[in-house]
Symmetry: C2
Subunit: 187 residues, 2 copies
């Protein structure tokens, strides 16, 4: 049920009217594994909330598929750069498994901000969380060896290791499939 999404947990200062307004704009999408939520080359029109399942964001460069991020249930995801700037996305987002997501369009979100100024607060807080997570990821990637990066992923997002392929994980951790395979063999 939309009402029990847990979407507004830990967020205070938002009126019930705003919450209801926001939720009424959500559209439910049920997808099979491998369904593309956003496509490279197209402007990202929606912000997604993953109710069940998981997704992977990636782009293709020099014929190689490079994973940017994994998103699990309870998280928001979109091709942020494209969504914010309204320019074509360089990344593709697809589900890693059968999933249920709720999405809101860019226009509806902006209208929601106008109708319910306190809604801007929710979005702001979500952005803050994502900013911090990204900052940590960047700092972390700065001074860790391939092995440490893998161990950290196992620690923090063990579900990803079950759901994603070696190739997807390797590109996320910025190493080759072979290196990841050797690391796993030694643990």
């Amino acid at each position: 049920m939309k009402q029990s999404l847990g979407l507004f947990e830990n967020i205070t200062g938002v009126s019930d009217a705003a919450k209801q307004g926001f939720i009424s704009l959500l559209e439910e999408v049920k997808t099979e594994k491998g369904h593309k939520l956003e496509q490279e080359g197209q402007v990202s029109h929606h912000l997604y909330y993953i109710a069940e399942g998981s997704a992977r964001s990636y782009y293709v460069r020099d014929n190689r598929d490079i994973t940017v991020s994994f998103s699990l249930a309870g998280e928001f995801v979109t091709a942020m750069h494209s969504f914010i700037t309204r320019s074509p996305s360089y990344e593709t987002i697809e589900t890693l498994e059968k999933s249920i997501v709720y999405r809101i369009s860019y226009e509806d979100l902006q209208q929601c901000f106008l109708d319910f100024p306190d809604m801007e607060r929710t979005y702001r807080i979500i952005l803050e969380k994502y900013y911090i997570a990204l900052e940590e990821q960047l700092i972390f990637s700065k001074f860790k060896s391939a092995k440490d990066r893998y161990l950290e992923l196992m620690e923090n997002k063990p579900k990803i290791i079950q759901k994603a392929s070696v190739g997807q994980i390797a590109s996320f951790l910025d190493m080759t499939i072979e290196t990841l395979s050797r690391i796993r063999a030694k643990i």
Copy 2:
């Protein structure tokens, strides 16, 4: 003059009252080179806007000084993680040169959001910009060689190369001083 900071350029939908309210909360700080705006271990109390000069954010790990980011005039900076979560900062921010910054305290900023809900929009847009910049930095660091990372920095933020030391730049680009030195020798 505070009024001519250029702070609200490119940001629409904010009332003059909100702008004035925000500006009135700013405190000017003139600093010498090397002045610490934020200290590791302490909660970050201010959001800074660099009017003149530049700053470097870094943390120390295993006795090594690792640069997280450089900030130039016209940009905002703070120990974001600490500022948002109100927990001790793991990073230190210091000016790279004699600088003039304007700062607003966490409490004043929150009050500003309450007094002027449309102010939340400005902050949100700033956050979005920073999020995108960080995302690009992360993606970029994923598949570039040491040399390419240096060339990209030269292209995008040439001022940093003049203002920061080899060691500071090397740790930002995630390579050793020696590697950076060799790269520079070959260009």
